[in-house]
Symmetry: C2
Subunit: 173 residues, 2 copies
């Protein structure tokens, strides 16, 4: 579940997301809460975590696992220390840990983390919101892959704001 400019960026080069607010989406249901309700945990990179921490209010009710070799609990405000854990495990190792905990559906957030899980064949479905803007440069959502990753379109939903929610399943995942 990621917002991407039509030219494939999830953030400007300086990580800012201001361009997401150019389209008023107040009364649109992009399914964020329903989606969050459906997952058992979230995995994100330290870049995404820092961005979310910058929002002030912590938006997640589910456990968050952050992939980082440098961040520790000390980097978190006290009230979030039991909500976020840090890990340096591979996608495959994490997947097996999640299985033991009974986690079945994980939300993977952030370009680099999505790419590593995709590469490991562990992404089953993707929801991409295409934002009607060309940024020209920035941080890309997708990166190199070992080969083609074939997708199957589940739904395409346009909104009055001009955002289009595209839902895909990954073939063979």
């Amino acid at each position: 579940m990621m917002a991407m400019s039509l030219d494939g960026f999830v953030a400007r080069k300086d990580h800012t997301l201001d361009w997401l607010n150019k389209q008023p989406t107040e009364n649109e249901d992009h399914g964020f809460f329903a989606f969050m309700d459906s997952v058992d945990a979230l995995v994100m990179g330290s870049g995404s975590l820092r961005t979310v921490l910058g929002f002030g209010d912590w938006p997640y009710l589910k456990p968050v696992i952050t992939l980082s070799r440098t961040m520790t609990k000390q980097d978190l405000p006290e009230h979030l220390q039991d909500k976020i854990t840090f890990s340096t495990e591979s996608p495959e190792a994490l997947w097996s840990i999640f299985g033991k905990r009974g986690y079945k559906r994980i939300y993977v957030d952030g370009g680099a983390v999505i790419r590593s899980f995709l590469q490991a064949g562990l992404i089953q479905d993707m929801k991409i919101t295409v934002v009607p803007i060309l940024l020209g440069n920035g941080i890309r959502l997708f990166g190199e892959t070992a080969g083609d990753i074939d997708l199957e379109l589940t739904s395409a939903t346009p909104f009055p704001s001009g955002l289009v929610d595209l839902h895909y399943t990954v073939k063979g995942a």
Copy 2:
């Protein structure tokens, strides 16, 4: 009117388009003929021209202007020499030439040419077909821009093949 993989590529690095045939689209009307009917001429780069020449049958009924500093009529099969002209003019100069000829609606094809016309503010609407595949690398549709290019969604049409036609107008163009 361009087909783009979900990760933003119009062709593989070696210019091949084989991945476009992974999704059967036989009975789908992506509006190619209606669109071609609506334009007065086509502008394309030499890369796109070479690709189309490689198809064998020439698919266009309208005049084609190819931007190239190196190709000449000699590079064309004889039966196409009156259908294709070459130019080294800027997008702005071409636009003014087209105006004098009474051309009102031009189809601009090929990544580099689309980018130069976009940059000149001469693209009014875009039809992008998003193909359900991640290629990982290749030739990008969009490139650097001088700033944000804001778009307005006109329509989003999903097809049984999983292709999604997105139609945008360019704000301020």
